[in-house]
């Protein structure tokens, strides 16, 4: 398997600049997720890599060998890329076996043991080989599409939102089967998706795209913990953004004085917290100043205005998801709304007053 290098690729349709200079390196045997909202150009990028369209400028190389660039383009049928489109796009007139062997040379199509191997690789029963696409479920179709793409041993596998048409239950199991198959085949893969959970859970590295540009290329943990700007932060997960004033490495905001990772120069800023960093504590009965809160370790700073630990907030509403819950809170003093994520077994009652502390560091970004 092969590495992929995209270098300064641009593409316009008419007057619309779809890709404005993309640089991307995908190491061999790794899965890179290209994550972005719809219309950001991620599917166009995939089509350029596959060779279905040609870039206006820039080059694309597979394993160091340029397949498009400097006015020369190798057609898709000679690039050896595996392509798994949305909804699988199996050939409806061919059986599963014929679909899988479509890309093999004529002599090795019939009586090939490859079909069985590949079906096993994607976690499907060998019985399915004689079925036709319309007799398969959506998840099965998607796995057959992957098997078909892997059959000719491509240099790289491109997956274009392959799970978006599946319903929730099927999506998770199909995702895991596809990831396992890609690992087993030690394939280099590029997965295009708009689903941040999918990108974060499957990929070795995540490339975040916005308006035709690649805004961050990092590990899943990296894009979530240290997003390059507030926009990326909001796109890869829920974010609480608060105006703050930075002084000597501390940000003071309505949630108190927070420690900032990578301190910025002193002055106004915005701080970012993830909802799971905001911890809820029962408010002291009667709201007596000075009485100890039911706080745990208290990683956040104490608020000077309240007597107890943390900042008082009133619970607006609770969205319960079972394993956890999202709690919308209004700070009593400041009136600001913040979002916290709590475990599903310790739900506050709507309308009650709690105290908030902050766990871990905040990230600071320039003010808007």
């Amino acid at each position: 398997m092969t590495s992929l290098t995209v270098d300064g690729v641009t593409k316009s349709f008419g007057s619309t600049h779809v890709l404005a200079g993309i640089d991307l390196h995908v190491p061999a045997r790794s899965l890179t997720a290209v994550l972005g909202p719809s219309g950001c150009g991620k599917t166009t990028l995939l089509r350029l890599i596959a060779g279905f369209d040609d870039p206006d400028a820039g080059s694309i190389a597979l394993d160091g060998e340029v397949v498009v660039g400097a006015g020369r383009s190798r057609p898709p049928q000679r690039r050896r890329v595996g392509y798994v489109p949305q909804e699988g796009a199996l050939f409806p007139h061919l059986s599963v076996a014929a679909n899988i062997t479509f890309g093999l040379p004529r002599r090795s199509r019939a009586g090939s043991t490859r079909v069985g191997e590949l079906l096993e690789l994607v976690g499907l029963d060998a019985e399915l080989a004689r079925r036709h696409p319309h007799e398969l479920s959506g998840g099965q179709q998607q796995r057959v599409a992957l098997a078909r793409a892997l059959a000719p041993e491509p240099s790289i596998v491109l997956l274009d939102e392959p799970f978006s048409s599946l319903d929730a239950g099927l999506r998770e199991s199909t995702r895991r089967a596809v990831a396992a198959a890609l690992t087993a085949a030690s394939a280099t893969a590029v997965l295009v998706t708009h689903d941040q959970a999918e990108a974060l859970s499957l990929a070795d590295q995540v490339a975040v795209m916005r308006q035709g540009r690649l805004v961050q290329l990092d590990s899943p943990e990296g894009v979530y913990r240290t997003p390059s700007d507030a926009g990326v932060a909001g796109f890869v997960g829920e974010a609480v953004l608060l105006p703050a004033e930075i002084r000597a490495g501390l940000a003071s905001c309505v949630l108190g004085s927070l420690r900032v990772r990578w301190p910025r120069a002193d002055g106004p800023a915005r701080v970012l917290l993830r909802p799971e960093q905001i911890l809820l504590h029962a408010a002291p009965p009667g709201g007596e100043p000075g009485s100890a809160g039911a706080g745990r370790d208290g990683a956040g700073r104490a608020d000077e205005r309240g007597g107890g630990e943390g900042v008082e907030a009133r619970v607006r509403d609770v969205s319960f998801f079972g394993h956890d819950a999202a709690v919308r809170l209004e700070l009593v003093a400041a009136g600001t709304e913040v979002l916290a994520r709590v475990a599903g077994h310790e739900l506050p009652a709507p309308g009650s007053v709690v105290r908030l502390t902050v766990a871990g560091d905040a990230l600071a970004y320039p003010p808007t």
């Binding site: 779809v18 599917t43 060779g51 595996g82 489109p85 409806p92 007139h93 479509f102």
Partner: protein
Amino acid sequence: MALISDPRPVAVDPDDGGAAAYPAGPGARPSYPPLLLLAAVAVALLALVPLGFVVGYTISTGWAETVRLVVRPRTADLLWNTARLTAGCVLLCAVVGTAAAWLVERSSLPGRRVWNVLLVAPLAVPAFVNGYGWVSITSAVTGYAGALLIVTLSYFPLVHLPVAAALRGLDPGLEETACALGLSRWGAFRRVVLPQLRPALLGGSLLVALHLLAEFGALQLLRYATFTTAIYDQYQSSFASAAATMLAGVLVLCCLLLLLAEIRLRGRARYARLGGGAPRPAGRTRLGRLTVPALAGLGALVALALAVPLGSLVRWLVTGTSTAFDGRVLAEAAVTSLGLGAVAAGVTTLLAVPVAWLAVRHRGRLSTLLERSTYVGSALPGIVVALALVTIAIRGARPLYQTTPLLVAGYAILFLPRAMVTVRSALAQAPPVLDSVAHSLGAGTLSTLRRVTLPLVAPGLGAGAALVFLAVVTELTATLLLSPIGTRTLATEFWQQSSSLAYGAAAPYAALMVLISAPATWLLTREPGRGTPR
């Protein structure tokens, strides 16, 4: 004009079903491949020839001469005859077709499958054969009342089919919601179901009206004069005269007015089902004591529409064989008809491919315009198309006059819309993403065409060709005007015999045409869209 339901543009909105649009970037301008574009433009121009001829002729004739030729008592008579027949027939067809569709689809009527076939079967009997069947037993059917009866019996399935399909596809959830909002069953039908049927009802009515404006054979046999018969008579007496062309102009105007009226009435409202989820089959209203009257009514309808013409045909076949028909001539006419049908079907389907390909794969304003132009032919009566081609051939392309290519061109203009609809949906079966996948798997352009596109498209192309074939075999009007001297088809032989009152000699030709039409009609009765997508 032939009798199997034309899949005209009213039945298919070309903006739907193109979900497989090319995944180009936002705001991308479609780039049209030049050769394909050239072919599509040529096809669209061919389809526009008759309309262009009528318009051009009128302009070159000049205003004063046009007024002199058109504003005559004769035109007023014809207009009145045509209008009252069209209005009466559309109204009757709407009532009869909707009632029959409701009985079959939404009531507890026994024998639903059988009725479904029987109520569509009249389409297998060309209207001129139906007229022949009636008029050869009783001359009481000549005149307005008789003509109204016979055209209604011939054309009510054109309303029944779309309305039944709409009732079948209607989400019962809508009715249930209406009932939950406090409407009575009848109230729900009137305020929810009926508005949903509007597009189907209007589309079907438009088809009936266009067929009526084009109808020649039946009305000629029943001696009921309309524009079409008048144009034919005019043509017979004075050949390609200005008077005939002017009458054709008025007829074309009527057709265009109908199309406009339908578009206006249909409006912009959305009738499609919103939201996902599979629709459930609807519940059925219990008929109870009304079962017997309902059965009797449908029985009478089928008896009049099928039993009378077919019975009459059989009677003439049995008793009239003595009228010494020539087996050799019959065989020759059959072979000619089948051959013409096959050639026209192949040519027409082939012509539809570039236009449909552009419309499906390269959507844009130009491709939509080209596609729409090919539908114009379906709004034009066969007599107008034939008249235009004859006149143009005589004036500008003498060697083409009285040749088979000109006849085939006429068929192609008339039946291109049928081929377009099926070819278009066939091409949609092979979305571009399959090409992309095939390329990524190493298949080149030709290999992809052979291994992916053709296998997927072929059944649809075949179906389109079959539709055209059947329409050509039962086409009468254009064939009468355009067929080369000495060419005998089933339709022309039938016409020659029956118009000289040799009813017995005409019977075998009519019987053959009915037999050839039957399979296509049977296809129409199958519930569409539920088969395996192979």
